[in-house]
Amino acid sequence: MLLLENVRKSYREPSGARLPILDIEHFALSPGEQVVLCGSSGGGKTTLLNCLAGLTTVDDGRILIGGHDITAMAEVARDRYRARSIGYVFQTFNLLPAFTALENVLLGMTFTGQKADPRRAAQWLENLGLGARLQHKPEALSVGEQQRVSVARALVNRPLLLLADEPTANVDTGHQQQIIDLLREACQHENIAMLLVTHSPEVASQFERVEQLEQVNRIKKCLSGK
């Protein structure tokens, strides 16, 4: 389902020199597989997720998702493919503050090229226990509710791959487990592959497959923030 081959990514430093971030010879996920990616800060985890989402272009190599090489796609096609086939759950939820919970989920359907379906969006929110909070704006929702809205937004299009970038980093321990359970159940139910980045040993210990980025990535040391 997900296959990385000889993927290289580097950033240009102010001096003009290239700073290598990623050098991954091979990395793969099967359909519906749930994998945790761990690693030290600045190790390139977020960069890897951005490359997988097509938000950042790689210098070299191939990234195949569902058999489609997103590195060979034009940007517009990659954007459309991301909208349809990749869900993204962020550490800070990234809900749009001016939109209601329902509108935030609908936003996830807006860029797929198909008509947004309010009933399906509402159904996802109801499934996640937010049936009574559809018209509430993020500021009126608790942290846990906000994260559930972001999960609904990421999964509403039934993507092939869910990328979760430290989704429990900003929540307390009680909510942390709820969110992990929610993501795992939803992905399992919809047969969605999940790559979850976390620093939490408690979270990582719940997954059958845990990958250390340092073991996957041939670049062993990066600058923090990259």
Binding site: T47, L55, D79, R82, N94, A98
Partner: protein, 449 residues
């Protein structure tokens, strides 16, 4: 926009005010020009006393300003059965100088003959056929019914006078003069869209019988020779020019003595004459004879030419200056859209990055910014159009009273049709810079903020 309601509303409001000003300038100019064109139709020449051409046109055609010095009635007779008659289809005398005040507004009272409404037109239709006066109520006044009057449509509506009602004109145009004998309204004209809508027309015979309007017999006789070639007796004036016209008969004498008999012609004067010629050469011949001949009593002017000069020398340039100012205001308002959106781009970069992460293309987020800019301009533009027309409607009575221009809320100019698309194009232009910023948003970096 929703997120920045106050900023968006203020930006839209500044655009609305600029557009409203532009609407006012465009509509008032168009109505003014239209009225200038319409009012000066139906006859070839205006003959009046020596003085400013513009003053003659303004007082005779638009019923504004002070009339010029009157000319002897004998001069008017030249057009009826004298040497000029061969060129003339119709000559309508005007005696100006009285007014009538009602409902806080002042209306001009014009002494004239019934021929005004039967012999000349007040304009022409698109196919060139003349538009003749018609009555919405009653009839034309009759020559031998001295104290009959016909009202313009607006004058009738504003004064509340109906057929059968009576009114007393006031001596002079200031509205503070003595009140004359009463006239009976016998007819109300259909609206013509000209300044005549706001006037009250009384039988010229009755006008002469009013106190202070006829010359006394002796000075009139003395003046008589002058009409044949010498200069006019400047002091023998009608009501409008000066209350110090010492050679007038005592206020009550004429009206009392001659109430039921026409004033002798030698005691009459007219302020101006509307002349409709028989053919296209008539105006040229009369222009030659009146303006360039030995007879220096009067002047003849072609109102259309004066109106054209008025438009070219005053109305047009004033409009252009005002239009440039309003365009500058709209440009400033447009730039405020640019500043407003551009300033918000840093706080919006995160939302844009989220949308990009959800699959929005660069052109999609660029379009969102452009649409916001265009929507703001549209909102401001439509509000401005409505605001402009509301101001027009609210200011209409005052403008009508002071400038003689009739305005309505629904008075649209064809240029307004171009205004909204123009604004939207302008908004797209000013929105391009922030839209480009959205286009270039670094998603990975903005998501990390």
């Amino acid at each position: 926009m929703q997120q920045r309601t106050l900023a968006s509303l203020l930006t839209g409001l500044s655009m609305a005010l600029g557009v409203a000003l532009m609407i006012l300038v465009i509509v008032i100019h168009d109505v003014t020009v239209d009225q200038l064109d319409t009012d000066a139709q139906g006859y070839h020449l205006i003959v009046g006393g020596k003085g400013g051409e513009l003053q003659l046109v303004m007082s005779t055609v638009f019923h504004l300003g002070r009339p010029l010095m009157p000319i002897p009635y004998s001069y008017y007779k030249k057009f009826v059965d004298g040497p000029f008659a061969q060129y003339v289809e119709a000559a309508i005398p005007y005696c100006l100088g009285d007014s009538y005040q009602a409902a806080g507004q002042q209306f001009r009272v014009i002494g004239t003959t019934p021929g005004l409404f039967t012999k000349i037109a007040y304009g022409s239709r698109a196919d060139g056929t003349p538009k003749h006066y018609t009555f919405q109520a009653g009839r034309n006044f009759q020559t031998d019914h001295f104290f009959e009057a016909v009202l313009g449509a607006v004058a009738a509506r504003k004064t509340g006078l109906k057929v059968g009602d009576t009114f007393r004109p006031t001596h002079g145009i200031s509205g503070r003069g003595d009140r004359h004998d009463q006239f009976t309204v016998v007819g109300i004209l259909d609206p013509t869209g000209t300044a005549n809508d706001r006037a009250l027309f009384i039988n010229i015979e009755g006008f002469y019988l009013l106190a202070g309007h006829a010359l006394s017999a002796a000075p009139a006789a003395a003046q008589a020779p002058s009409t044949e070639g010498g200069p006019p007796a400047a002091a023998t004036i009608l009501a409008p020019t000066s209350r110090a016209a010492v050679r007038k008969t005592p206020l009550d004498a004429v009206s009392q003595a001659l109430q039921h008999h026409p004033v002798p012609e030698e005691q009459r004067e007219v302020t101006s004459i509307l002349v409709l010629c028989k053919d296209a050469f008539g105006p040229m011949v009369l222009d030659q004879k009146i303006n360039k001949g030995s007879d220096r009593i009067a002047q003849a002017i072609a109102p259309a030419a004066v109106v054209t000069r008025l438009k070219e020398t005053i109305v047009g340039p004033v409009r252009m200056v005002l239009l440039i100012l309003t365009v500058l205001i709209v440009i400033v308002a447009g730039l405020s859209i640019l500043v407003s959106i551009y300033n918000s781009m840093s706080e919006r970069s995160h939302d844009i990055a989220v949308m990009r992460a959800l699959g929005a293309s660069r052109t999609a987020v660029m379009s969102i910014i452009l649409v916001e800019s265009i929507l703001l301009a549209l909102l401001g533009g439509v509000t401005g159009v409505l605001l402009g027309h509301t101001i027009l409607a609210l200011a209409a009575p005052s403008i009508e009273s002071h400038a003689g221009i009739t305005l309505h809320f629904w008075q649209f100019s064809w240029q307004e049709v171009l205004l909204i698309p123009g604004l939207m194009a302008f908004a797209a232009l000013v929105g391009f810079l922030p839209a480009l910023t959205a286009y270039r948003t670094d998603v990975a970096r903005s998501l990390g903020k």
